[in-house]
């Protein structure tokens, strides 16, 4: 008898479990243990000699791109950045090994979180073959040792559902809100400033920034300004002032990230213009460039 496998090439996910998401004990436990996974020092000042903050940003951007291209689960990137920061907080590292470290961290995070993890070969290709799979596997052991094999770190993503379900949000907007929150969390992970913030604060600030940015026109007063911040602060036991500061910082990072993106686009267009001469296409570009930052204009859905 022939056996026929009808398993499709789709990833099967568990449904959100209300026993986990609707239980305050889970949220409380997450809040209790999250501090354990925060890197212990500002490592550019006290540990690293060769690595500069802009290099962390480079490797983070690369890691995010790889995760996006490989359609990794949302938490893989923030988790990998957590490993990277925790490693760098204890181990002086040379810049030429930083991309290898980034690859190892993605490798580990992906194995922990995904049903079909990234392969060592694939990751090596993404480094343009500057490292070999065996080296990736070797260094995996070194990284694991420095992390004390403590891989199940708390990430901001762990808090999203716990926060969102306690807010009076319009049902139809939930998917969009989640998507924006995840984007803000990823954005925070690329910025070193946020590396030593508690994950719950990043999550709360991201939810706040997403709701403000989307300007949800619900009549609900509790979703406006200070009352929203108060409500959010209460959910994760964060101090209101710290939360406000965090949210503002997230918004600033978003603005500068968008600005840099636009500048880069303009530069490329100018280069194109030099190469191909002015075309009708470039005429209306300045209009777009001058568009004020508005999250609602950004489609952050993944294709």
């Amino acid at each position: 008898m022939d056996l026929l496998c009808l398993e499709m090439d789709t990833i099967i996910r568990a449904r959100p479990d209300p026993n986990i998401l609707c239980d305050d004990r889970v949220l409380q436990s997450l809040l209790n243990i999250e501090e354990r996974f925060i890197p212990q020092c500002s490592y550019f000042k006290c540990v690293q000699k060769d690595i500069q903050p802009f290099m962390r940003r480079m490797v983070a951007t690369w890691m995010l791109e790889v995760c996006e291209e490989q359609k990794c689960e949302e938490e893989v990137f923030p988790l990998a950045m957590n490993y990277l920061d925790r490693f760098l907080a204890v181990e002086p590292t040379k810049r030429c090994n930083l991309q290898l470290l980034g690859a190892v961290c993605m490798f580990l995070a992906s194995k922990l979180k995904e049903t079909r993890p990234l392969t060592a070969e694939k990751l090596c290709i993404y480094t343009d073959n500057s490292i070999r799979p065996q080296e990736l596997l070797d260094w995996e052991l070194v990284v694991l040792g420095k992390l004390k094999w403590n891989l199940a770190a708390v990430t901001p993503n762990d808090f999203i559902e716990h926060i969102v379900r306690k807010l009076p949000l319009p049902e139809g907007k939930l998917v969009l809100i989640r998507k924006h929150v995840q984007t803000f969390i990823a954005l925070c992970a690329t910025e070193f400033n946020f590396a030593m913030y508690p994950p719950s604060m990043i999550a709360t600030g991201s939810v706040g920034a997403a709701i403000c940015g989307l300007q949800l026109d619900s009549g609900n007063q509790s979703l406006w300004g200070d009352s929203l911040t108060d409500l959010l602060a209460k959910i994760t036991n964060t101090e209101v002032d710290l939360l406000k500061e965090c949210q503002e910082q997230i918004e600033r990072v978003l603005v500068s990230s968008l600005r840099e993106g636009r500048q880069q686009q303009q530069q490329q267009e100018q280069q194109q213009q030099v190469q191909h001469g002015p075309s009708s296409k470039t005429v209306d570009e300045p209009d777009q460039a001058s568009t004020p930052t508005d999250v609602r204009n950004i489609n952050i859905y993944r294709e």
């Binding site: 480079m58 951007t61 995010l64 070194v142 420095k146 568009t291």
Partner: protein, 167 residues
């Protein structure tokens, strides 16, 4: 149309102002494989050094170090579960290392550290008795299927009672 173009601004652009092309790239120049290998070996031996210091045990020579926080004691390797027994590939498997014995650790009360604090034997046996009674209560019938608690027992018995697992 203008609207669609605006909404097409993807997250990739939003978050990656540094690069726009494919993610495949070398960031900080080529890596010297020999140098990397050397650094890897150094990192491993440093880790081993730290572990030896932390546990007061020389993992290379398999001998306790003097003046450590722990008191190491030999136990026959037949007393530990299979995965913990030393196996030397290519040297006749487990038989080849029959002479070797594992070390078990005994810690004085004063030294119960933060990291995986080892329990005192008294505590262990006290707990064990509670656990052991559970399957008996439920297994009044002649049921051969294993319970989860069976595995708890086997695991916890390792240090104190020299009963072999699987026998």
């Amino acid at each position: 149309m203008c609207r669609t173009r605006k909404t097409m601004v993807s997250r990739k652009r939003l978050l990656s102002p540094l690069e726009k092309c494919s993610a495949r790239r070398m960031l900080f120049g080529p890596v010297d494989p020999e140098q990397l290998q050397k650094e890897y070996q150094d990192a491993l031996s440093r880790d081993l050094e730290l572990a030896c210091h932390r546990w007061g045990f020389d993992f290379r020579s398999e001998e306790p170090l003097a003046g450590g926080d722990f008191q190491w004691e030999r136990v026959p390797d037949t007393n530990v579960p299979l995965p913990y027994r030393p196996c030397l590939v290519g040297l006749g498997g487990a038989q080849g290392v029959g002479g070797l014995a594992d070390m078990s650790v005994q810690v004085g009360l004063s030294q119960c550290g933060k990291e995986s604090p080892p329990c005192t034997p008294e505590k262990y046996t006290a707990k064990l008795q509670d656990v052991e009674t559970t399957p008996d209560k439920e297994n009044g019938l002649k049921r051969k299927q294993t319970d989860l608690t069976d595995f708890y027992q086997a695991k916890k018995r390792v240090v104190d009672t020299p009963r072999k697992s699987g026998q």
